[in-house]
Symmetry: C3
Subunit: 350 residues, 3 copies
């Protein structure tokens, strides 16, 4: 029997199973440089140590989405190597800042299992947790994926579907943000005069710019995250696959859309939580990604007068400038240009 | 009204206006690694902390052109997002070394404005200054760009064209170079026995090697500099544009040519100043960049016996090995293979 | 006479000649991030400072193959710029760990010279040594390359072929590995329960995954190593060359195969020595690289009860999943899919 792994299949998971994932990862300023080079983020808090320190951080924190990529990447070999669809996220919270030099590890607990009626696949629900070298949880989220069965006839346990919140409560936001000295927050350097109070529910923002993705770029990104999902790197297999080409990691689109959203959300310096999200269509190399946002809700954060939260819809589109804010068609179907529909809480100074 | 920005148009600028640019940027060893991976620079001072310390630096300084890219990148959203041509540079001086950990910010002052006769565009002259976190100026330069008007009929102020020096005076060179212990400067490690005294005015150097540029490479580079100029990243728009394809950031060519110039200028470890420069032709992915240099002048630097300055012409060509030193055609027009014609002062040990 | 270099030709080398190579290089966490992004290595010791410290390292060491690339890169301008084939390696030993912040320099001694009968080329044997800033040798190896003569009629000295060992002795292994606290070695985090004792001579491992290589990726990698070999970067020349396209640096294949080999060799955290190796076929962009391994031998390391050595054959293939372990054809010729056949000693906890 070979010592190499082919990943878990649906029948390999059991309810309550806890998986300690491999490949602990020390995050460095090298990762930050690459992340900048891959997406063009410009949020001042993550870009400048001087800015971050002035407002209360120990130093410039690692971009939240980069932290997510690292944690998710660790879970892939155990959870989703045989997944055919990434179905959703919920109760997704950033709980402590991550700084260069911190080492991230990840564990997942199986919190739900539901075989599909075709008996060829099933849905695996996990709660994944990323911790730093001090054992502090930096990220915690539920995720569910559709995973193939190795053997259609393999017996499986009873169906358990976990109850997950539709959104993260405002009281759970901002744990990863130290007390901010708003007077020291330089709006010119941050790039916008608009703070939390200046946004209104229902407001839509066209982020204007677009970014074309090359094969080398998404491969470099996904390897940086040590995400070894097969479909992103192997043209030999994908040539024979569903699309005939490599599928870009959905997280690459999230990072692109988040970086594009700087234009209009310059002071939304932190993603506190993700309420839900959907990869509506796959992206392939050569596509140009655009983004728009809508303010879905506003919330004060209990006990915090320095920051407030905006609930935002972040929509990424492909080869479609988003001035018309595409989301659904007249028939109520997803607009064919939409790649991503993400519902998250951002934090801004107030 | 949307909170996202579309950049300033000619009529938005006013004489004496000072713009504090967004996106302060902490420079790290991660940026240095990427810069190395993008261009193959080999100058010992920037490549080796041990070498740099031995001759008098605190540690290995950041490549001068990388400092330029960061400072320029900050100015783009405010100054040149609606530019249709980058017309020139003058009085361009590096004034202090930049080390990993330093945070760069940039400001620009509008020092000249000149509407074009077609009233559709105008030339904006700015003096841009990059500072570190201590408020020290690390780079200072004048630049002028041709910017579109939003409205042809918009009234504009009187024409002011600043007086700019044709070259930087030797007394202004070398401010970013500490006192060098020339005895500790190891010529073997640096890669050449030729110091300042060994070069002669009129000498031409074929840098021999060539480098083919890929889309992913120039995009990664330009994003690293947080330069969000539209034409470099967006194939969706550029497919409909003037060339049908993405235009490579002119600074990418400068960095390639500078790195190629190591072969023959190994000890020209610092760019002290740029007297002027012109992007003669655009570069597109797939092109192979070559370079050659000519020694235009030599100068002692007042008060410095450790280093001397060479005034160099650095010419980059496309798909044309430069053994014949192409510059102009027999008719006096720019040679069609020429991409860049840069006039700068380099510093060498003596 | 131009100051730029075109590299040494066969008749330029002399027996016993010692070359101090240019471009000393400080290795940083930025290099590590890029290396991760280029190959997807996941060995816990190199990936995690916390893991490395727990078992006895000062911090996470630099990947062995990355150290090799840096040292080899320095030798290229002097040794192999005019090489037409990289013929072999022997007696190749890693002797001290390299950490971020260390500065690497390299020297080579000519230990053999053998003109070919056609008088157009000759084989140059060098012993190359990489040292850190303290003068400690971190890597030492013999290499031989076939180098062009500038002038067919140039006289050359007598033929000297050095005697080189077929393999590195177990007593010479593990010098770059501190005493390991095996009890602190977390198998879950490392990703496998298999230690040295669990592998058997003759065992073959299919590493399963494949990685498609893009032009931008191998160019970025090879420039990172400051390896200026002409054939990797210059499509203008290579279009007229033997293959019509850029040839990927053979070391890129070694790094890909090593990273792929994590799946099945998760605890083989260190390459202690290379006994020999051959680049069987060239790789070009667009090819998908797979890998398999065979355990050729096992050895205890004298004086070390913490670690043991596995002698491994690492075979990389192109566009050929290695489940059938391709190596030679029925006629005894190299299998056409094989890119690399490497014979090395890996170290594992025991």
């Amino acid at each position: 029997m070979s010592k190499s792994k082919v990943g878990n299949f649906f029948e390999d998971f059991s309810l309550g199973q806890v998986i300690r994932h491999a490949a602990p990862r020390t995050v460095t300023s090298g990762d930050v440089a690459l992340y900048t080079a891959l997406y063009l983020p410009r949020f001042a808090v993550q870009s400048s140590a001087a800015f971050a320190k002035a407002i209360g951080y120990r130093e410039a924190p690692i971009d939240d989405i980069l932290v997510f990529h690292f944690v998710l990447g660790k879970t892939v070999p155990d959870v989703s190597l045989n997944a055919i669809a990434n179905l959703g996220y919920a109760d997704f919270k950033f709980l402590a800042p991550v700084y260069p030099g911190d080492t991230l590890t990840a564990t997942s607990e199986v919190i739900g299992l539901k075989e599909n009626s075709n008996k060829e696949t099933g849905v695996v629900y996990v709660r994944s947790t990323g911790k730093n070298q001090h054992g502090e949880t930096v990220l915690d989220y539920a995720r569910w994926v559709m995973v193939k069965k190795r053997d259609k006839d393999a017996p499986v346990g009873p169906e358990v579907v976990p109850s997950l919140p539709k959104s993260v409560a405002p009281a759970d936001l901002g744990k990863a943000v130290p007390s901010i000295d708003v007077a020291a927050y330089d709006k010119d350097l941050a790039g916008s005069p608009y703070f939390w109070d200046d946004y209104e529910v229902g407001e839509k923002i066209d982020h204007i710019d677009g970014m074309t993705v090359e094969e080398a770029e998404h491969q470099v990104a996904t390897r940086l995250y040590q995400n070894n999902s097969k479909v992103h790197f192997n043209q030999y297999y994908e040539a024979q696959g569903r699309f005939g080409k490599r599928i870009i990691y959905g997280g690459h689109v999230i990072s692109l859309a988040r970086a594009l959203s700087f234009n209009g959300l310059e002071n939304a310096f932190h993603i506190a939580a993700v309420n839900g999200g959907r990869h509506v269509n796959p992206l392939f190399a050569g596509g140009t990604v655009f983004a728009w946002s809508e303010v879905l809700d506003k919330a004060e954060i209990p006990g915090r007068s320095d920051i407030g939260a905006l609930r935002l819809r972040l929509v990424a589109t492909k080869d479609h400038p988003p001035a018309d804010f595409p989301l659904t068609t007249a028939e109520g179907k997803p607009h064919p240009a939409v790649l991503l529909d993400l519902d998250y809480w951002a934090v801004l100074p107030r």
